[in-house]
């Protein structure tokens, strides 16, 4: 009779051994908050499941020279509460802290949120905005670095081969001039799937009061999160004023129109993105522009 076999690697070496034998009927489980549901929905009754949750080496957050490194099996709660992340990658801490419910964040892992490749995955826009890289190991033990854009195909699919697994997320540390923020909009305050999410990283020169660089990424407006260059243009080389906020807002509205023009959700999302734009802008510059926009 068909059956599902569980593999329980205890370290990276054993994980590679498991991957070596992996085929298209092999699944990866870590927190299981997405995988278990899919297992039931797809009515999978045979194959192999590799459980990553016992590989202690995959669970860490550390500072390493110019980078922050996050182990793949680090939970979203751990990411959201970590002081290093809060200091260097606040947008990611904010995003991880808003995924699903407390229970989901306590189980779900950062690599799972990426690999699941949901269009509305909350950690993806900030990671993209920070130019994070993913370390991927394969069944031969070879480790390569890939961008999120390379790994995430979108609409629930990723580009990883059946013997590949994300083991680490590497985020470049930006200097003190960089500030970042994340916002999401769902149909309620908490425990909600994003209808829109966005992350912005800016290089802000406080002496000159000027935004010297900006990276803007939006999610849930297509198969996967993407960069909004028009959003960036509205910010770069300008001072964070009300006028700039208005331009930023309009840029994002245009971005929504381009991304989902003609879809039934366009009418709502092109308005609602105003809230995202304002909230992100205010988070970024609340110390600079007191009160921001009411």
């Amino acid at each position: 009779m068909e059956h599902i076999s569980m593999r329980l690697p205890g370290n990276l070496e054993e994980l590679v051994e498991c991957l070596e034998e992996a085929d298209e009927n092999t699944g990866l489980i870590s927190g299981g908050t997405d995988f278990v549901i899919q297992l039931r929905q797809r009515k999978l009754y045979s194959g192999t499941i590799i459980d990553l949750s016992r590989v202690e080496e995959l669970r860490f957050i550390k500072e390493d020279g110019n980078n922050l490194r996050i182990g793949a099996a680090t939970t979203l709660t751990e990411v959201s509460e970590n002081e290093l992340i809060k200091k260097y990658v606040p947008a990611l801490a904010q995003a991880a802290g808003q995924v699903g419910s407390t229970q989901i964040r306590n189980r779900g892992t950062i690599a799972g949120n990426i690999g699941n490749a949901s269009p509305c995955a909350d950690t993806v826009p900030p990671l993209m905005a920070f130019d994070a890289l993913l370390k991927v190991i394969n069944g031969k033990g070879k480790i390569v670095e890939k961008t999120l854009d390379e790994v995430v195909f979108g609409s629930g699919r990723n580009n990883l081969k059946s013997d590949e697994v994300i083991i680490e997320i590497v985020i470049p540390k930006l200097n003190d001039n960089y500030i970042s923020a994340f916002e999401k909009l769902g149909s309620r305050k908490a425990v909600t799937i994003s209808k829109i999410n966005g992350a912005v990283v800016v290089k802000y020169n406080s002496d000159k009061n000027i935004i010297e660089d900006a990276r803007v990424f939006l999610g849930a407006l297509g198969p996967k999160a993407f960069r909004s260059q028009c959003g960036e243009k509205a910010l770069i080389d300008r001072a964070p004023t009300q006028a700039v906020l208005n331009d930023f807002c309009h840029a994002l509205i245009n971005q929504v129109d381009t991304a989902i023009g003609g879809r039934s959700s366009q009418a709502y999302k092109r308005e609602a993105i105003k809230g995202i734009a304002h909230d992100i802008f205010n988070k970024l510059f609340e110390s600079v522009v007191p009160g921001g926009d009411s």
Binding site: L185, K189, Y268, A272, K274, I276
Partner: protein
């Protein structure tokens, strides 16, 4: 609140709270009988289709599968699951398994196997070939003349008008008339426990059913009709209930579970998951209601014309009753001399309607109370002032001949609420013009107290005082989580002046409980069953006193009774517990005290509520936060204060969801978009406001200790109050529930483009 009560009005913990919080209580999903088999249904994935064939061979070949059942296997005994007593008749169009798919969620097949994993697997191996038919997914399409007929007699299932005076001609005369068309969605009950049932055949061929249900005698009746068995060969035992809200009112799983147990000869537990519970059980009926209200310039309502079209889904069930329940309410809140209500119930290829907390009241009040605010807006009058001019007064009559309104205290509710809420101050403050806009709104609601005046409404209870100093009350009550058992115990305790811990109140079991005509529905339990408990306890008390006088050799007038002790007041040194007295009665006279009493409900007064709310709308994304809810309730007398407050908190929660987020989304092709809680959003803790509860306790003349119902009326007024607050804050007129962010943004855009 009166302070001369000892147990009534107090917050006493529910009888099974320890077992619930420690996980000791056994729900049906936890029960396991020797040799028990597991079962689940295959529900239709298509909204309307003839079933060409069902191939079960692969499923049946799976090791562990006992049998797969389809429509070919079930008796062709059509039934209507809404029917709750013999002698009533409603169109019968349901079968244990359907011969045709009439909605996404229709019962197509059932698998019985040795374990749950095998059941799930086998369900995936059943091959159904459908011949798809045109789909009617809305009221508008259902009423089109050339629409395909879902049932032989056409898509208009029911229509009836109720009227007093002559509203039509007055409205035509051209007074100030305010017209709105309000739509409300299908709502899921969202009980924590999805539907579940366990049935087993005993050694003599009787079927025993354990079910979290609302009416054991209705389950017995429907199972008997569906299986073609004599009533008394079926025993129904009410099991621990993990929430119902009306959803477990009609027997849905019980007939099929009993059938599976009978056919397999083994105990069978039939379960549903959340998706099946959303798409395949019952829902609040969707509605489209047109309200035209004519007023004079002073704000007196002179006529109202209401047209309610109700989407009852694919099977009849309570399609007539729920529409009539809507109609009756509109004559019982405002004094309107000329009023017409026309109700029509339509079949659609969507989820079947059934009882859902409020039973038509949330829909009809959403319509009429939103309209009342629009009347006030047209008159430039405060909506509270408009209401106060028109609301009913205590002891008003029902203008269409329904039961008297009794001590109807809606005006007290509104006046008290207005003051506590600081209505005038909040309503008249300058409007916000930034991103976040606050606003206040209010609405009223009314509901009934049972079936008196419409259907048989009586219950029999039996109370025995034991020689171990206990009072055992036998009756077909069902605690749905509201605290019914404890409420009834408090009533008996008050009458007999004994602590409720000495009282044992068993719940419904058709083999052991005296008969009850209607079960736990229609907001009748405290009023009718509580009334019976009180009367039964009073008769027992009389008997106890008179027999004690014989035992003690004194006059009846000398007998004193307090705190569970009884004595001759002229011999105060010798006090006896009731148990000790019963021992003497038994041994001296070979007598006993066991009282059986049948109580007929004497009345059906209105209960009333006024809710005041404050909301804050994010005008950028349309999200609404409810900041404050004040619920003022006319309840006669709280029997258990904590339960009453709990009911009102929970009712407000359900009503906030109805206003803002809850909707079973069914597209024009009949597909259900909200198949689990990731898409169907009930209001969760971060979004739930504090609900302030204020009770108006002016005794009802007929309720036990003056008590009236609360469990349904509390789930009605918050929704229209919220919509009214949004409409006022934004100066828009949203008339479609729920007021989702998308609808709010659309309304704002329309307003801005004017």
């Amino acid at each position: 609140m009166k302070d001369n009560f000892k147990y009534v009005g107090k917050s006493i913990a529910r009888h099974d709270v320890k077992e619930k919080v420690t996980g000791k209580i056994k729900y049906v999903g936890d029960m396991k009988l020797d040799g028990m088999l597991y079962a689940k249904m295959l529900l239709s994935e298509v909204p309307h289709a003839n079933i060409v064939s069902i191939n079960t061979s692969k499923a049946e070949a799976l090791p562990g599968v006992v049998r797969v059942f389809t429509e070919k296997d079930v008796p062709k005994n059509y039934y209507n699951s809404h029917k709750w007593y013999k002698g009533s008749e409603f169109p019968r169009d349901e079968l244990i398994l359907s011969e045709k798919a009439r909605y996404v969620g229709d019962r197509i097949a059932a698998v019985v196997a040795k374990d749950m994993a095998t059941v799930e697997r086998a369900l995936g191996l059943i091959e159904v070939e459908y011949e798809e038919l045109p789909v009617i997914a809305s009221i508008d399409n259902s009423m089109k003349e050339d629409s395909i007929k879902i049932h032989e007699d056409g898509n208009l299932a029911f229509e009836k008008a109720l009227k007093c005076g002559d509203a039509e001609s007055i409205i035509e005369e051209g007074k100030l008339v305010c017209e709105d068309v309000i739509t409300t969605p299908k709502q899921h009950h969202a009980a924590m426990e999805p539907h579940v049932c366990l049935a087993a055949e005993d050694y003599s061929g009787n079927i025993i059913i354990w079910t979290p249900c609302q009416v054991v005698f209705q389950v017995q009746l429907i199972v008997a009709e569906a299986l073609g068995m004599p009533l008394d060969n079926i025993r129904v035992i009410k099991a621990a209930m993990g929430g119902s809200f009306g959803g477990k009112g009609q027997p849905i799983l019980e007939p099929i579970c009993a059938f599976l147990a009978k056919e397999t000869g083994a105990p069978v537990r039939l379960v549903t998951d959340r998706t099946q519970s959303i798409i395949g059980t019952r829902s609040r009926n969707a509605s489209k209601i047109r309200v035209k209200t004519a007023v004079d310039k002073d704000g007196n309502i002179i006529a109202r014309d209401i047209n309610a079209d109700v989407d009852i889904g694919a099977y009849y069930t309570n399609g007539s009753a729920v529409t009539m329940a809507m109609g009756k309410k509109v004559f019982r809140m405002y004094k309107i001399k000329n009023q017409t209500f026309k109700g029509r119930s339509y079949f659609t290829n969507t989820l079947v309607g059934g009882a859902c907390r409020g039973y038509g009241s949330p829909q009809i009040h959403a319509a009429t109370e939103i309209n009342i605010d629009n009347v006030a807006r047209a008159l430039d009058m405060d909506p509270v002032e408009l209401r106060l001019k028109n609301l009913v007064h205590p002891y008003d009559k029902d203008p269409i001949g329904g039961p008297d309104l009794g001590n109807a205290r809606i005006i007290d509710c509104v006046e008290r609420g207005m003051k506590l809420f600081e209505w005038e101050k909040k309503r008249n403050r300058p409007k916000d013009d930034g991103r976040f806009v606050r606003g206040v709104g209010m609405a009223c609601a009314t509901h009934g107290n049972g079936y008196h005046g419409a259907f048989p409404d009586f219950i029999t209870m039996s109370l025995r005082i034991t020689n171990d100093n206990k009072l055992i009350l036998k009756s077909a009550i069902h605690d749905l989580g509201c605290g019914t058992v404890t409420t009834i115990k408090q009533i008996v305790a008050e009458v007999l002046d004994i602590h409720p811990d000495n009282i044992i109140a068993h719940q419904g079991d058709t083999a052991l409980s005296p008969y009850d005509s209607a079960g736990t529905q229609a907001s009748r339990v405290t009023f009718v069953c509580g009334g019976c408990a009180k009367k039964t306890a009073e008769i027992a008390k009389e008997q106890l006193i008179s027999k004690s006088a014989e035992v003690l050799g004194c006059f009846v007038e000398d007998i004193a009774l307090k705190d569970g002790l009884i004595w001759n007041d002229k011999d105060k040194d010798r006090k006896f517990t009731y148990g000790e007295m019963i021992v003497m009665i038994q041994n001296n006279f070979e007598e006993d005290i066991e009282v059986t009493h049948t109580y007929r409900s004497p009345a059906n007064p209105g209960v009333y509520a006024a809710n005041f709310v404050e909301v804050e709308v994010d005008t950028y994304n349309g999200l609404v936060r409810v900041l404050d809810v004040l619920a003022v309730h006319d309840i006669g007398q709280a029997i258990n204060r904590g339960f009453v407050e709990g009911q009102i908190q929970g009712g407000a929660h359900m009503s906030i969801g109805f206003a803002l987020t809850e909707e079973i989304k069914i597209d024009e092709k009949g597909k259900v978009g909200t198949q689990n809680f990731s898409k169907y959003h009930i209001v969760n803790a971060p979004d739930m406001p504090n609900v302030r509860v204020e009770l108006i306790e002016e005794e009802d003349d007929n309720g036990p200790f003056g008590a009236k119902s609360v469990g349904e009326v509390c789930a009605v007024a918050a929704a229209p109050a919220i919509i009214n607050a949004i409409n006022y804050a934004l100066d828009v007129n949203i008339t479609s529930l729920p007021a989702t962010p998308e609808k709010i943004i659309r309304a704002l855009n329309e307003r801005n483009n004017k």
